[in-house]
């Protein structure tokens, strides 16, 4: 095992970097899309149950199946990986953003409007900052999930540590099969823990002291 890692550490680091990069970029994309959707959905009450249903049902679609469905449309490589990871990452963020935005007291919003804040100002300076801790929690859940989903992306020849796991699985019984699978899996777990710690820091840094738990 140590020899295995020793022989490939440059490759492992590079794939770890690719894996993280895929997850973080997809997470950013997913957050932007999900928060935008949540803003849209919470301003139109009839859409809210729809959004909740989508985020619940969406998570039941096997990621492997979704990837398979995408391959004939967008081909192999990075593009299907980003789409699949973003899709799954968006769902918890969407759900939390809807909950967070709905949790902002109506009286506070009215008070802000009563001071002369425009609709956009209320959104950017009141609703989003107040919903932010809840949205951040959703982002952390998404980050963990995206780490796992990104491994599946290797099936479509996407970047990252998933390739190691697939290599291990296709060589079952072979000399390094177990090493490949273990290094891939443990690597993803370590990356997930590091990312989560960073997100906790980010959350503290970006949440007003006035509403921090």
């Amino acid at each position: 095992m140590i020899e295995f890692i020793d022989a490939r550490w440059a490759d492992i680091l590079f794939r770890s970097y690719q894996h993280s990069s895929l997850v973080i970029q997809s997470l950013l994309l997913a957050t932007v899309i999900a928060v935008a959707l949540a803003v849209l959905v919470t301003s139109c009450r009839r859409l809210t149950p729809v959004a909740n249903a989508v985020s619940a049902v969406g998570l039941t679609i096997p990621s492997f199946a979704l990837l398979g469905l995408l391959l004939p449309i967008v081909g192999i490589g990075t593009v299907p990986s980003v789409i699949v990871v973003s899709f799954y990452a968006a769902l918890p963020v969407l759900r939390n953003a809807v909950v967070g935005l709905q949790g902002v007291e109506a009286s506070l919003i009215e008070s802000a409007r009563g001071q002369g804040m425009s609709g956009a100002a209320v959104l950017w300076r009141v609703r989003l900052p107040l919903a932010w801790p809840v949205i951040m929690t959703g982002i952390r859940v998404s980050a963990q999930m995206a780490m796992g989903v990104a491994a599946i992306a290797a099936y479509a020849l996407g970047p990252g540590l998933g390739t190691y796991i697939f290599t291990g699985l296709t060589q079952v019984g072979g000399a390094n099969a177990l090493n490949y699978a273990l290094v891939g899996t443990l690597g993803i777990i370590i990356l997930a823990l590091i990312l989560d710690a960073l997100l906790v820091l980010l959350s503290r840094f970006t949440t007003s002291k006035g509403i921090r738990a």
Binding site: G114, G116, M117, S208, I211
Partner: protein, 399 residues
């Protein structure tokens, strides 16, 4: 009205006029507000009172168009505001709500500086204004500026709420049950402060309350509404107490309107007694000698700024060498503008049967109002049965 405007200080109130204002919600047969017409003279405080659901809050919110009127005109300084941009309009109307309505993720300074920020004031000007307002509402800027709302007591949050409403020096200020969420003693103090601020600034204030005593105390005019925001009576507190228009109004102001008149009388209208005083830091022996020579058993302790700090029996004072510094909040202090009913409340927690009276914006000590003086006064009121007592005008009608 023009005279008032001409003599009033800069940035003071504007005349507010509602003309046949109607609010009808779809699917409801009766309008919530059915043709309300009303003129509020510049610089006056009008209290909207009435049973819940009478449309008083709806009427208030139509003035800053948080609720859009279905028809009718609302004029500020003669200008119809129903066609103006609502967001711009609200920046020129102060808005204070129950509990303060502070934004929890913003500091005290950010909350107060909200409207100046929206109006594009530069940072230095906003900062200066925030300090000025914090001083005005009795909060030390150095201590409270950077705090967050959750680090403040209910009363302090409400003070910041009032400061925020005043921030951009708007001519009209709307208040929706401003002191409904604080305890009675804090409420009384906030009311006193609002009155002294109003005396100085002379804004046009429209204030919704369910508390008739608050209305009597704060209002230059009281508007009593019944369902559909129909005017039951509109007039000065003393008129309404003296001659309720009908049974509805009489029921609403409640029984014991003699006692209610205690809410019309100010502490400063009655003679104050002058018990012995001493300063923080004085030698206790000397103070005791002086007080005993005067034949008294207790003494009022003042600080260097002449503010009352404690009202102590000599036997409690004798435990110390020099007169100590007291930093706790006193509940037995009333402003000279406080009503007699507030003073009675304060006396109830005092062991001396009296409350210390302060005046001016810095809270200078003036004397002590005793329980006996007040009961004496109630007795004279009672002997004048049937005859409505004219309200002493000291500082009251003048504002």
């Amino acid at each position: 009205m023009n005279q008032t405007t001409a003599t009033a200080p800069d940035g003071s109130g504007a005349q507010l006029e509602l003309v046949d204002v109607v609010k009808k919600y779809p699917g409801q047969s009766r309008p919530a507000v059915d043709g309300l017409s009303l003129t509020v003279p510049a610089g006056q405080t009008v209290m909207f009172v009435g049973p819940s659901g009478c449309g008083k809050t709806t009427s208030l919110k139509m003035i800053n168009r948080l609720i859009e009127p279905t028809s009718g005109q609302i004029l500020i300084d003669g200008e119809d505001i129903t066609g103006q941009d609502a967001t711009q309009l609200r920046r020129s109307i102060g808005y204070v709500i129950q509990g303060g309505g502070l934004l929890p993720h913003m500091s005290v300074a950010e909350n107060i500086g909200l409207v100046p920020g929206l109006l594009g004031w530069d940072k230095a000007r906003t900062k200066g204004r925030v300090e000025e307002l914090l001083e005005m509402v009795g909060l030390d800027p150095a201590v409270y500026r950077d705090r967050f709302p959750r680090e403040l007591s209910g009363g302090q949050q409400q003070r910041v709420g009032v400061a925020r409403g005043l921030a951009a020096d708007p001519p009209v200020i709307l208040m929706d049950e401003p002191f409904g969420a604080v305890d009675p003693i804090t409420r009384q103090r906030l009311q006193d402060e609002l009155m002294s601020i109003q005396e100085e600034l002379q804004k046009t204030i429209v204030c919704v309350t369910h508390d008739i005593d608050e209305a009597i105390k704060l209002g230059d005019q009281i508007l009593i509404l019944r369902e559909g925001a129909e005017i039951a009576q509109y007039g000065a507190p003393e008129e309404i107490l003296a001659a309720p228009a009908d049974d509805f109004v009489a029921d609403f102001i409640g029984s014991g309107s003699k006692l209610k008149q205690l809410s019309l009388l100010r502490v400063g209208d009655l003679p104050l007694s002058q018990p012995q005083t001493c300063r923080v830091g004085e030698s206790v022996d000397e103070v005791v000698r002086r007080v005993e020579a005067a034949g008294e058993r207790s003494v009022v302790i003042l600080d260097a700024q002449n503010r009352p700090k404690e009202y102590l029996f000599l036997r409690s004072l004798k435990r110390h060498q020099t007169v100590p510094v007291f930093s706790h909040e006193l509940q037995t202090v009333v402003d000279q503008r406080s009503t007699l009913s507030d003073a009675l409340d304060a006396m109830l927690v005092s062991s001396h049967g009296g409350a210390m009276v302060t005046g001016g914006s810095r809270g200078d000590y003036l004397g002590v109002i005793s329980y006996d003086t007040v009961t004496e006064h109630i007795r004279t009121l009672q002997t004048q049965t049937g005859q409505i007592r004219a309200v002493p005008s000291a500082g009251w009608e003048a504002s």
